[in-house]
């Protein structure tokens, strides 16, 4: 009866809550969403095309620019794909270093996810706390490879350099302090009554639908689906570590959020074990100077910070890849946004989008 005029609201591309240049066209009946049409591509750089003109090693820095919040994972996914194609055996120490760096990267990415989610819900303080701790990880990465964000530390056949001497003590200190920091987030953000009111039972993601839409990573696990490539299809040396895969119950925004916090705890556990088991030895396999993988193709997946990160590499036998395709988890996780937002309010759109934890560098490739 009292129906207001339907308005169209352009959320983005310049909007603080779209986490970059992402654009959602919202059709609203007052504040209730009737349609949310996502528009991406504002950050499209054609990385897949650029790869065709680079050598295999030259492409590594481009992977940093996909999910720039978890560059180590992106590096690893790519180099492992090429290693699989060339059948290179990576030295044990390098595998452990990779695991340490990857899990650090995962924590860094989740810290950003948790922090920005706090901002999305309206609490800026949580963001600052998360960034404070992410800064420590950035410092650790700086020790390892001299770079903080775009790391390019992984090499085909190993890692660029061995860990510096001061790294392990600094890492151990970080590992000791981090659990109490996570408790702090739980107190400041997760435990907050308003935060729970805003996120619980909001943006429910049914497990069957989530699988059908290819949603992966913490978003899928929050719906209660046990699917973590580190457990289900262990790559690298992940089968040697004892850790749990946190699952959600309802599949709402709150579960997606808490899953990430729980995953950080598990990552800390993995890193601790990796540091304890870290073997001595070389960090680089014997690989030729010019990489010419045999003709053929390979598809390799790892568990990225945002979901399943896959690299499809086609070689024609030359020193440049014939084609590289990246299965970007953020991109595919976004595919269900419209259905997820329907019927919720504009404030919930922010909550839902934030809980999916997208990185535009990855969405747009």
């Amino acid at each position: 009866m009292l129906r207001t005029e339907e308005i169209t609201l352009n959320m983005g591309p310049q909007h603080p809550s779209t986490h970059g240049v992402f654009h959602v066209v919202l059709k609203m009946d007052h504040e209730v969403i009737t349609e949310a049409r996502p528009i991406c591509g504002y950050l499209h750089r054609g990385i897949e095309k650029l790869a065709e003109a680079r050598t295999y090693t030259q492409f590594i820095p481009y992977t940093d620019r996909l999910d720039y919040l978890a560059a180590m994972l992106n590096n690893t996914g790519y180099v492992q794909a090429v290693e699989k194609l060339m059948e290179i055996e990576v030295p044990e120490r390098a595998e452990y270093i990779r695991v340490i760096c990857c899990e650090l990267s995962r924590i860094a990415s989740h810290l950003i996810a948790v922090g920005t989610y706090s901002v999305d819900i309206g609490g800026i303080t949580g963001f600052m706390y998360c960034l404070r701790d992410r800064e420590r990880i950035m410092d650790l990465f700086e020790m390892v490879c001299g770079s903080r964000l775009t790391l390019s530390y992984m090499r085909i056949g190993g890692v660029a350099e061995d860990l510096p001497d001061e790294f392990i003590p600094a890492l151990c200190q970080f590992l000791d302090e981090m659990p109490s920091r996570l408790d702090e987030y739980d107190g400041l953000i997760t435990g907050n009554e308003i935060f729970q009111a805003r996120t619980k039972h909001v943006g429910l993601l049914d497990p069957g639908v989530a699988i059908n839409y290819g949603i992966s990573g913490p978003n899928l696990r929050a719906s209660g689906v046990f699917w973590d490539l580190r457990k289900n299809r262990p790559y690298s040396v992940y089968d040697r570590f004892d850790f749990e895969v946190p699952l959600g119950k309802r599949g709402d925004c709150f579960d997606r959020f808490t899953c990430r916090i729980k995953e950080m705890r598990q990552s800390l556990k993995i890193i601790r074990q990796a540091v304890e088991q870290l073997p001595e030895g070389p960090v680089m396999a014997k690989v030729p100077k010019v990489l010419k993988p045999p003709a053929g193709d390979v598809y390799h997946e790892i568990e990225g910070a945002k979901g399943i990160l896959g690299y499809y590499v086609v070689s024609d036998g030359s020193n440049k890849p014939y084609r590289i395709h990246v299965r970007r988890p953020s991109f595919i996780n976004l595919g269900f946004l419209n259905e997820l937002c329907k019927g919720w309010k504009i404030a919930d759109v922010v909550a839902i989008l934030g809980s999916l934890d997208i990185v535009l560098g990855e969405v747009d490739c």
Binding site: P16, S118, G123, I124, Y129, I194, A197, A347
Partner: protein, 350 residues
Amino acid sequence: MVENIFVGFAEWLRSLLAAAGLPALFGDIVLMIVKVAGILAFIAISVLWIVYMERKMAAYFQARIGPNRVGPRGLLQTAADMGKLISKEIIIPRAADKIVFLLMPVLIFVPSLLLFAVVPFGKNMIAVDLNVGVFYFFAVASVSTIIFWAGGWASANKYALIGAMRAVAQMISYEVPMVLAILGVIMIVGSMKMSDIINAQQNVWFIFTQPVAFIIYVIAATAETNRTPFDLLEGESEIIAGPFIEYGGMGFAMWFLAEYANLILVSVLATTLFLGGWLAPFGLTFIPSWVWFLLKIYFMIWVFMWFRWTYPRIRVDQLMNFGWKVLVPLSLANIFVTGIGMFIYRAIGW
């Protein structure tokens, strides 16, 4: 001596004018101008300080340092910001209603300024001690709603319009529990005069006799001043500053200024109604009354800032539900209980 520094100054000014042979009316006018100037200076300095304080406090809440470059300990940061805002170009959207768009940031300051007239800064330090002081407070404050809305509407921006409509809905709904909450205090005092209310708290502050009213008041006041967790009309993560989205430079500075002036005002009212105004606790009367008053309002401001930097934002329907389904019934019950309590008190001959 320090206690009466301001009152003494006023008396001295009045006698000086009288001695000069000027009519009493002229003296009143001059005195009123001095009062207005004093209040304006108070607002300007307070806002400058409070903005700095807010940023510094936010920094400490967030484990960082905050402004520390401009001036000693970053004290001049707000002044520098103001300078920046003043020197910025004022951009008017083409579709905007130009006159309304430019007028509203100016007008938003008028209610705040008018309200300072009844602020009891200290003993005998109230510009106009109205009979209906508290009621005046709410009446004039309610006008600002329409100014918020008009500013948002004139921007011709959908985010601004959503914010403006939210402002209207929110401020109207939270005014109801706020007024109902303070009715308990007014019932006990039997007067709406600011000075009467303060004097009625000689023995015990109303925060102890009317705790529910105080809590309702603080919640509703947070909503009235649009601060987290009720900063829905700004909601920077969803509707990006709402009604202010198109304002830049001085236009934005005015909204900003008015917001902080409102923060001071609700703290003033909380102090007057519940914290004993300028009355000194524990008989510490050697500290002047106006210092006590300032201390108390800064305490309240600090509480509001504490809210802001710890809470996330509530959703619009939750806000409405909370206001109408929790706060209003609670404040009505408070009035009822207060009435019965007063009746019993009188019956037992107090």
